[in-house]
């Protein structure tokens, strides 16, 4: 499989979710498992509890959140200015800055940079942009082996699995599953399932590779315009190994990741770790500019990746999507993500942020079901450290999708469109609605099962009952009940003559 886009299989969310929620793996959903769902729930609950505790500790949290939102919004409004400033300063410090309009250009740039070095193996530190452009498959095709060094990414790579979360990509795996994988792939049959033993096994496995591999590829958390700096936030030290030991380093980063100033890190180095892993600070943050003398790689390249980002800036309402600092707090708090896990989103970017980012990266021409993968409960907005109003953007994007569909002839004649127009007609007038309810009560009879639910509906309505049951309409509607009880006890109720009942109810 060669993932060409962020939206892997172009599967609709309800369909993918149904497969993921199956108790056993199938051909379409090889990783679905009830164990997987338990793992996802456990992990997200633990991170969420830790996050809430360390956020509550800071009385200035809302000020930090407001400043974070303002800095990111400001940067996006002046994005071209800050990218040029970054380019000038990174170059001044000996770095090379490249611009890639899309995934194919980014892959081509990587291959060109690698060509003179002809590496057989390449170290990688967790980079979602690399996932986004399908870099690993491309490197393999050209005879190079990318070696994921982040523990979770190593687990994913060895298991030929897919990441399901962007801070802890393998959170759907239990320690037993990881032990079996390591025992097999590292030829360590004696390995125990103690987390310490598993981490030590990864240390032994990668140590000599770190000391001898000459080329590394990384992502970045932030670019700093005023110093030409790059900031990478991590826990294990694999990042530091990749950033400091090889001769050649390539950093692939989305154009939106720039911050105006080094000093702005005083905000994000507080909000990111607390939101992402529930720690006051993660073990390591690395910040450097270009090729700093003998302290780092001799050759340093930054690839600035657009790949569908710049058009998002044009829409005032959904531009805020690009403020995201990928902390994954919105995933951890999302009731839909809790149930389905990350794979159901069928995208590099899962969860609430994935639901708004993925379709926009494709100019709303793919992943159109994702903006519906939410109950709009608003929990994601509450926890977001840069205050992205995800529910607002979700609704805005749903509107765009409907407009897009209506703008075609087939769309304007579609059953949906007709049904929505009919509903509007009925709901505008009380007596029309009343008549319709009575009609529906009669019509539903053959469909109601013994438990009082409707489990199957014909035609296009089947889309609803495919993934959920519908409670049957009660024999007496609220309006009928109101009329009956009000006339029986008129002294307590508004009388029929009083115009207290809204005319259009």
């Amino acid at each position: 499989m060669k993932p060409e886009t962020t939206h892997w299989n172009r599967q609709d969310f309800p369909e993918a979710a149904r497969k993921e929620l199956a108790a056993k793996p199938s051909q379409d959903a090889p990783f679905a498992h009830s164990q997987t769902r338990r793992n996802v729930r456990n992990a997200t609950e633990i991170i969420q509890a830790k996050r809430n505790a360390v956020v509550a500790e800071l009385p200035e949290w809302q000020d930090l959140r407001a400043a974070g939102a303002a800095i990111r919004a400001h940067t996006l409004e002046h994005l071209d200015h800050y990218l040029l400033e970054f380019e000038a300063n990174c170059t001044r410090h000996g770095g090379h800055v490249h611009w890639a309009a899309d995934a194919a250009e980014a892959r081509k740039l990587v291959l060109e940079i690698l060509a003179p070095h002809a590496p057989r193996e390449i170290l990688k530190i967790k980079t979602m942009t690399s996932e986004e452009i399908g870099l690993n498959a491309c490197l393999e095709e050209h005879g190079m082996h990318p070696l994921e060094t982040d523990l979770a990414e190593l687990i994913i790579q060895m298991g030929r699995d897919r990441p399901s979360h962007f801070v802890v990509p393998a959170l759907h795996k239990s320690r037993g599953q990881i032990r079996d994988l390591f025992a097999r792939e590292m030829h360590r049959p004696e390995l125990s399932d103690e987390p310490e033993a598993l981490a030590a096994a990864a240390r032994d496995y990668l140590r000599q590779k770190f000391l001898s591999t000459r080329v590394a590829i990384s992502g970045a958390n932030f670019l700093l315009a005023d110093t030409g700096g790059v900031c990478i936030v991590e826990s294990e030290g694999n990042g530091r190994m990749c950033l400091t030991l090889p001769d050649v380093l390539i950093t692939i980063v989305g154009i939106e990741k720039v911050l105006p100033s080094f000093q702005d890190l005083e905000v994000f180095l507080q909000t990111l770790p607390r939101s992402a892993t529930g720690e006051r600070m993660n073990p390591y943050n690395s910040i450097w500019s270009g090729t700093p003398g003998n302290d780092g790689p001799r050759e340093f390249h930054v690839i600035l990746l657009d790949n569908g980002r710049s058009p998002i800036l044009a829409d005032d309402e959904s531009r805020q999507t690009l403020r995201c600092i990928r902390c994954a707090a919105c995933l951890n708090t999302c009731p839909v993500y809790h149930q389905t896990g990350g794979h159901a989103y069928d995208s590099v970017y899962a969860g609430p942020i994935g639901a708004i980012l993925t379709p926009q990266l494709h100019s709303m021409q793919a992943a159109q079901s994702l903006p519906y993968a939410s109950s709009l409960c608003g929990a994601c907005y509450e926890v977001c450290p840069v205050a992205i109003n995800i529910p607002e953007v979700l609704i805005h994007l749903r509107g765009k999708i409907v407009e897009q569909q209506q703008s075609t002839v087939a769309g304007s004649l579609s059953l949906w469109n007709i049904a929505m127009k009919s509903a509007a007609f009925l709901m505008q007038d009380g007596s029309r609605l009343h008549a319709a309810v009575h009609l529906a009560q009669a019509a539903q009879r053959p469909l109601v099962s013994r438990n009082g639910f409707i489990e199957w509906l014909p035609g296009m309505l089947n889309g609803w009952t495919k993934t959920r049951d519908l409670p049957a309409l009660p024999a007496e509607s609220f309006r009928d009940w109101w009329r009956r009880t009000r006339s029986a006890n008129s002294s307590l109720q508004p009388s029929a003559e009083q115009p207290s009942e809204p005319r259009h109810d």
Binding site: A100, R175, T244
Partner: protein, 217 residues
């Protein structure tokens, strides 16, 4: 290709933002200055409590910390720490003051060691630029007394001297003390991972042990 793409991306951004691509962002500086930084006025702790807080945070990360009464006591404190851990002489970052080191030990200079040699030394001794109580972090900047970045990465044991005058209460107070262009590493406890069932496990690729000597100065 990259020059064309550069122009294309910059034009797309300018078009999306509804302005001419040649328009200079002179407005950027003015609007940047308007950003509210109310978080900076959060209450700083008193000196006494930030020292205790820093020690507490280090312990929470599973790092060790020893308080040292005066700089003159450092050589004895270093010797005692190494003895208690049964460690041979660690490497030392260039620029670490001679007066810190115990007499009679031959500390190899980290600068002279290859990566493979660094992999075999029993540890590394450094100072730092600033330390942050609120988050239990030490910040190292490449250079004087703090070594190159690989020096505090490859050895399995990091012994770090923090002077109390280098300790600040919060993250925003640390930034004015940093030189923005230097390679910088924030270190908060030993290397760790939470990738296996969300348990923080100490020690993956970086030093598995971090020991801080907090010196009143």
């Amino acid at each position: 290709m990259t020059d064309d793409s550069r122009a294309r991306i910059l034009n797309r951004i300018a078009a999306a933002l509804g302005r001419d691509s040649s328009a200079a962002s002179s407005a950027a500086a003015a609007s940047y200055a308007q950003i509210a930084r109310d978080y900076r006025s959060a209450n700083a702790n008193s000196d006494r409590s930030i020292r205790d807080l820093f020690v507490e945070r280090l312990h929470e990360y599973d790092a060790a910390c020893t308080r040292v009464a005066t700089p003159a006591d450092l050589p004895a404190a270093i010797a005692a720490t190494l003895a208690a851990r049964r460690l041979a002489t660690p490497a030392v970052a260039s620029g670490v003051p001679r007066e810190w080191l115990p007499e009679g030990c031959d500390f190899p200079a980290a600068d002279s060691l290859s990566v493979h040699e660094l992999d075999r030394v029993p540890g590394i001794l450094t100072g730092c630029t600033v330390a942050i109580a609120e988050t239990g972090s030490i910040v190292l900047q490449s250079g004087s007394g703090q070594g190159l970045r690989r020096h505090t990465l490859i050895p399995d044991f990091h012994l770090c001297v923090v002077l109390e005058s280098q300790l600040v209460a919060s993250v925003p107070l640390a930034f004015p003390r940093l030189v923005p262009d230097l390679p910088t590493t924030f270190i908060s406890g030993p290397s760790a991972t939470a990738d296996i069932e969300m348990t923080r496990i100490r020690g993956v690729h970086g030093p598995r042990t971090l020991h801080v000597l907090l010196v009143a100065d």
